[in-house]
Symmetry: C2
Subunit: 503 residues, 2 copies
Amino acid sequence: MTVEWARGGPDLLVALDRDAGPLGIQIQDQLRAAIRDRRLGARERLPSTRRLAELLGVSRGTVVDVYQQLLAEGYIEAAAGSGTRVAAMPSGGPVRQAPGDLAALSSPSRAAVVDFEYGIPDLGSVPLTDWTWAVSEATRSLTTAELGDEDPAGSRHLREVVTAYHRRVRSGCAAAQDTVVVSGFRQGLAFALATLAQHGIQRIALEDPGPREHDVIARRAGLDAVPVPVDDHGLDVGRLRETGARAVLLTPAHQCPTGVALGPSRRRDLVAWADEVDGVIIEDDYDAEFRYDRQPVGSLQGLNPARVIALGSVSKTLAPAIRLGWVLAPPRFVPGIVEEKRLSCRGAPGLDQEALALLMESGRFDRHLRRVREIYRARRDVLAAEAEAAFGPGRLHGLAAGCHALLRLPDGTSERAVVATAATMGVRGNGLDHYRFAAAAEAEPAPRPPALVLGFGNVSEHQISRGIRALAAAVRRQTHAPAGPTQRAEAQAALKRRTTTPA
Amino acid sequence: MTVEWARGGPDLLVALDRDAGPLGIQIQDQLRAAIRDRRLGARERLPSTRRLAELLGVSRGTVVDVYQQLLAEGYIEAAAGSGTRVAAMPSGGPVRQAPGDLAALSSPSRAAVVDFEYGIPDLGSVPLTDWTWAVSEATRSLTTAELGDEDPAGSRHLREVVTAYHRRVRSGCAAAQDTVVVSGFRQGLAFALATLAQHGIQRIALEDPGPREHDVIARRAGLDAVPVPVDDHGLDVGRLRETGARAVLLTPAHQCPTGVALGPSRRRDLVAWADEVDGVIIEDDYDAEFRYDRQPVGSLQGLNPARVIALGSVSKTLAPAIRLGWVLAPPRFVPGIVEEKRLSCRGAPGLDQEALALLMESGRFDRHLRRVREIYRARRDVLAAEAEAAFGPGRLHGLAAGCHALLRLPDGTSERAVVATAATMGVRGNGLDHYRFAAAAEAEPAPRPPALVLGFGNVSEHQISRGIRALAAAVRRQTHAPAGPTQRAEAQAALKRRTTTPA
């Protein structure tokens, strides 16, 4: 007799022969074989004993015995509240398992103790309860038809809410029909660049130093990418004019990685440049929401909507794991961007788009921003105080906004050596050089004093203190300056703290 | 006195001068101005009267009066249970509103009464409660670090669950490390094609007729796309050999749009072809979950894992609005696909990936499939019965699986004329010609009898009956066959039903 285990559990055949010996043994053997050859995969849930007994027409006691046997053998596991599952590592060994896999499962995490990596928001503050609320509301708010394939421009509702937000908070002037919803900054950038290429733009200027890999992404879209230096007032517009590019990509609100804001006269000059060359400015508006002392600098998009494509996302304001962003573009580019999106991926999840619209409309998004802004302000203050104590005054730059700063190192210090030494102390960060345009760096090496880029979005105040002290020790060790007894004690203390605190 | 309306509502300045006349009028004027010039956008939520009164230091009665005035003027609207919002169409007129926008908001929906469009699942059955449960569980299940940028290959957990599912239900043999999570079929296809181009593949063969726009997508990836005819056993492998292509994209489980399954000898021959030419088969495994009478046909991936890239998604099994899919690829292609993903969009939403993994693990996904399979089976039975009654026996093909079928029309019928006539009756569908490869259709026009492609995933049984009767009437009208009294009465009845039933 063959019973298809098909209702209430996975579709799996269990064939029982009532004349061929104990049924429990037959069930046991077949389940074991299914787990061994991975027809039942790791963590898959098994039916309850009651359900399986019913499906197979055997007593529940038989199935309980089977499960207990497989449990004892390590093929399955019982988790409180979530029933019985196939174990992650059956003792019989799966048919196919790469060595890398086994290592990944068994080796301990090798994460840094203090991670100053650029661009990570405070992951401990992600408003998960609000997000669950918003998804739940979205399932009620969407019409049945809206569960189908979306308008390739994105949810009308979200486009309205996002542009309203951009007008209110960023002094923008885009409307919903100028907006395309994307799955984050990178996707928006790729669509915008491909569209510019179709409009005959061949060369784009990028900030140097600037965000990583934008040159690679530009070349993938068929554009020639050229570097333009950044100084204490942001992108050098005079040098931009010399490149012959008709498009530029920049981070005007808080330059990545130097932290400077594009100065007022530079902003005017940049907008004038765009008009002169019939050009386009792509604005990476990535952490403008987080300002501390100064007046927020409005979006360039509001200044010259016919020439600016503004890109935004919630990766820094909410979390990278909620992958939504937007492109606000001059009307002539919108159809091209929509077509790129339609052909390359159809769109972003409609449920998530509605959830984000509801989150922003409800006031929860603003409330979250106010809450994390205070967290970042406190971290920034600790960072400033610790950096001054460890390196002296005037070494930390770009702190007026955002979640990263630039720490100037003593002249002659090797960024790479400091980064490598700090890594041995469990402190991760990058030198300014890490953000340089490869071609420009070769032509014009180290045009600036050495510096480290310190992201402090996802680092606690306590970690900041420890991290800065370790960096100071690393700098002292690298510069071979004769270390005084205080410094030596400090470095030892930093090391000791590292080795006694669990990761 | 200036009060910043900054806690509990949008960051918006309301400046009150206690010596400048009634405070209510001042608030009213400033809110009206903010809505007019779109600093407060359509549908944005306003604070409660109590909250705003508290923020501004005025009596609640004052704010209630303000809101009532603005409500009467049409600037704001009150919705039961969701507070007060800025109205979609303020009577003062927004600063910027394209004519198209106004039309979209005011014109009634023009959706078809019966929509046989291919490829839409039953949107009324989307398991929204289960999805909300899964998202909520995912917020608890992910670690803090997993809320950051994901591994570009996708969530390890989902990759394990998806491959376990594919092994169990589709007889596949991929493991988690062969899997890349994508945002749906199209994105997976684009990444796979770009990777094949990098591996030196220059030409890909596509089914003719086949899914729409795959030729466009192939050319975007830099490949030459050539058609291969489909007959009653699926793709003609002999003709594939003649193309010189080293890659083929096909729908073996249930051909789109003819509905045939690739025959057993064709499957063997296809796999042999791939070995002969050092080629690659891209398998679009799009609705294999829904089979009715026959044994499910396993995935080609399980037959020749070194030569098959299998693409799957939840757009047909759950909903297009949950935008997740996967690519199962031979190991040599995985790094290229991951790099395409990393550079073009970084990834799919981490929270949604975990939610889908939990949904599949919990048994809810299987339960949902069993539920909708019964719905589709019932619809299919009604479709078969109605088609036989209206067109005679043997006219409906491709019904063994999936959510669409092919209705053969009498020889000499013009597909386009029937589609156009049906549209005037509120019935939407497409002719087989709609799915033909443009170049092939020119070279070899109408190699098959005329037919209509009928998607029945999102059409109720009642709508199916009405739709088929209307199509029969459209065919009779188009062929100019002398209509008997019964047929005429039937056509009139179909028309009457259409005009008396609301859309």
